[in-house]
Amino acid sequence: MDKMIYSILSVKKDPEKLDTLLRSLKGIAGADLYAVSSDQISAVVSDINRPDLIANNSNAIDYAGVIETLARKFTLLPMRFGSVMDSIGSINNMLVKNYSEIQNNLQKVENKYEFGLKVFCDPEKLMSELSLESEATNETLQTSYSEMKTSVYREYVNEKLKEHKKEEILLSYVDSVIAELTEFLSQLNTLKKIKKMTSAKNIIDAVFLLKKEDKNELIQAVEDFQSKYPRLNFILTGPWPPYNFVDITIK
């Protein structure tokens, strides 16, 4: 039978605590969980038949639930859904071969939580408001039209230019929000990954890794950002296991 790996964690402080916790949990398809250990690190696994390994919502939630419960008690590296090896021996080999990389990553995420921040807007409304403000200050959108003579092709270019300028204004606005966010996060010594414009409405999609004790400061900061930028919706989620901050190429 194959072995599904949920996470790799550090058990240096209290290995018995892990066994007790695993006895109270069930894995995918109600399977028992157990630990495969090498020195101070353990992989949490359950037995699984390949046909039971279906990537659906229910299994994904069960899988994430195990990781989250473990993350409340241990420093861990969450594994991607579907991480399967054929035997306990293979898992042991993997732990031994990657021991130092695993330890480095565990150190990186120790006593830290991951948080997600998504910033939404009403794109049309925001873009037209920003364009109006820009016109009021430097008239860039207006001058490009009035200077040009009219023809079908010129009007087409004018329309495209107008769209282009609106996009530039929006991008510059998003950059300014990100810059402010980044400045705040650097004060907390936070690891971060920020993507912008992942869709028309989702203008910022960010994840942070920060110390557990900084959670309330982050919440307060996001609330302050929300007050400062009423045209945007800030949605902060977490705490999550460090899904986005594990960097290991398994040998």
Partner: protein
Amino acid sequence: MSKNKILCNTGTVDLSIKDISDEFDQIINKEESRLKLSPDNADSGLAKLVLTLVELIRKLVEKQAMRRVDGGSLTDDEIERLGETLMKLEMKMEELKKYFNLTDRDLNINLGPLGDLM
């Protein structure tokens, strides 16, 4: 898993829960934006792939052209010809999309961790 992971969501932008939920669905469920090539739909699958690349290049050309117009480095005649070319390209693209029954959304394929193509 904890039911409520939302720590802060006090914004007042007129976005309904459905809008936000749709956004999450769009991010999570990328089925529509995947290229589905199989022996049964090789023609349309290939058309989708080719038109996606053509549309990407067309948009890049358009963006670069607008930068040049905005920068003031083109003469009136050049702007006129540019407008004609871009307009005809867009019209031709619309024709092709109609012919192959494709929408703008179909041509915005998902590149996994890199996000959407356009």
